[in-house]
């Protein structure tokens, strides 16, 4: 049974992400049972993501030896091209709108493998954790951003698209306001 090394490593990658996918699914499911309202779940996913993001950024910067991103454009490019690849195994592309706004587009997403959103949960932003992660990570490098899911294959779109807007550069010395 001879597989080429590339296809067998692809299979391995898919196998490794299954536990990740199922864990995330169980998390979302659990939140829905607890909170009932999809809007509340969206908020909670964002919060959890934020919590992850503020820690993940240090790990990321250390692993990739990235020089500190000086502005929004550099940061979003790094997130899309390096961050997504590293943590999700996904190839993402960034399309800047201007120096304060951009879109991140990607076709696959291990978080949503096997997921089919039921009719009554159309309000749910299933991948909202991802938005929170990005928001939290950028906060740690002095950028306050808004991240939204603009296009979602779970809702019939052809690809994933995150819409990011820079709200402001924040001076590190001052404490962040609570949301």
């Amino acid at each position: 049974n001879t597989l080429s090394s590339s296809s067998s490593s692809l299979k391995k990658k898919k196998k490794n992400s299954e536990l990740f996918t199922l864990t995330y699914g169980a998390l979302v499911r659990h939140l829905l049972l607890d909170l009932e309202s999809p809007e509340e779940v969206n908020k909670q996913l964002d919060k959890m993501g934020h919590n992850i993001g503020i820690r993940l950024v240090d790990d990321f910067l250390a692993k990739t030896n990235t020089r500190r991103c000086r502005n929004f454009s550099e940061a979003t490019k790094t997130i899309a091209e390096t961050g997504f690849k590293m943590f999700l195994g996904v190839t993402a592309r960034v399309s800047p709108v201007d120096d304060k706004e951009c879109k991140i587009v990607f076709n696959e997403n291990p978080l949503t493998d096997f997921v089919e959103l039921p009719e009554k949960l159309q309000q749910l932003r299933y991948c909202n954790l991802l938005c929170g992660v990005i928001r939290g990570a950028l906060e740690q490098i002095s950028m306050k951003v808004e991240v939204d899911i603009a296009r979602d294959p779970l809702k019939g779109d052809d690809k994933f698209e995150l819409h990011m807007k820079l709200v402001e550069y924040v001076n590190e010395e001052y404490p962040f306001k609570d949301d």
């Binding site: 199922l22 995330y24 699914g25 096997f114 997921v115 089919e116």
Partner: protein, 161 residues
């Protein structure tokens, strides 16, 4: 059950039944009665499926006693595929039992059904079933209502025509 689909495939019915003989998925395809030439009543297939459940127990235990490898070998098609469960007047019923005691059943309307084709269809169905139950919004043990899954089943079945 849902309306029988139009298909010139060799399969008249695809069913998935859980360990407690609870129906998880049933789809019938257009199949004309050999004698009357009229569209077969889906109820007939439900009856056939019901009768096949006993045959599962028999076949599964026979396989074990004939020196079949134990569960530790994993769910390779060789262990899961039970072959022909029983023939009716107009149809043949094939069975496939997963390690988690989920039963996949195929009812064929042609008598030229090749064993290799049947096996392949079972394997594809098994894979599709695994993906369907990995959906976090699917509750284990309940009917599979995923549109994606029924589309895939239709594709698998029509690919055999």
């Amino acid at each position: 059950g849902r309306q029988p689909r139009r298909s010139v495939a060799m399969f008249a019915c695809v069913a998935i039944v859980g360990p407690q003989n609870n129906p998880l998925f049933i789809q019938t395809y257009r199949s004309d009665n050999v004698v009357t030439g009229m569209q077969e009543d889906p109820i007939k297939f439900h009856y056939i499926l019901h009768c096949s459940l006993d045959a599962f127990e028999e076949k599964a235990s026979t396989k074990k006693s004939v020196g079949a490898k134990g569960i530790s070998q994993g769910a390779s098609s060789g262990d899961c595929y039970l072959g022909l469960l029983y023939p009716t007047e107009d149809y043949k019923v094939y069975g496939y039992l997963t390690s988690t005691q989920v039963k996949l059943i195929l009812v064929t309307s042609t008598f030229n059904a090749k064993e290799t084709t049947v096996r392949q269809v079972f394997e594809k169905l098994h894979k599709a079933y695994i993906d369907a139950i990995s959906n976090p919004f699917y509750t284990h043990g309940t009917k599979i209502e995923s549109l994606g899954f029924s589309k895939i089943v239709d594709q698998i079945v029509s690919a055999t025509s």
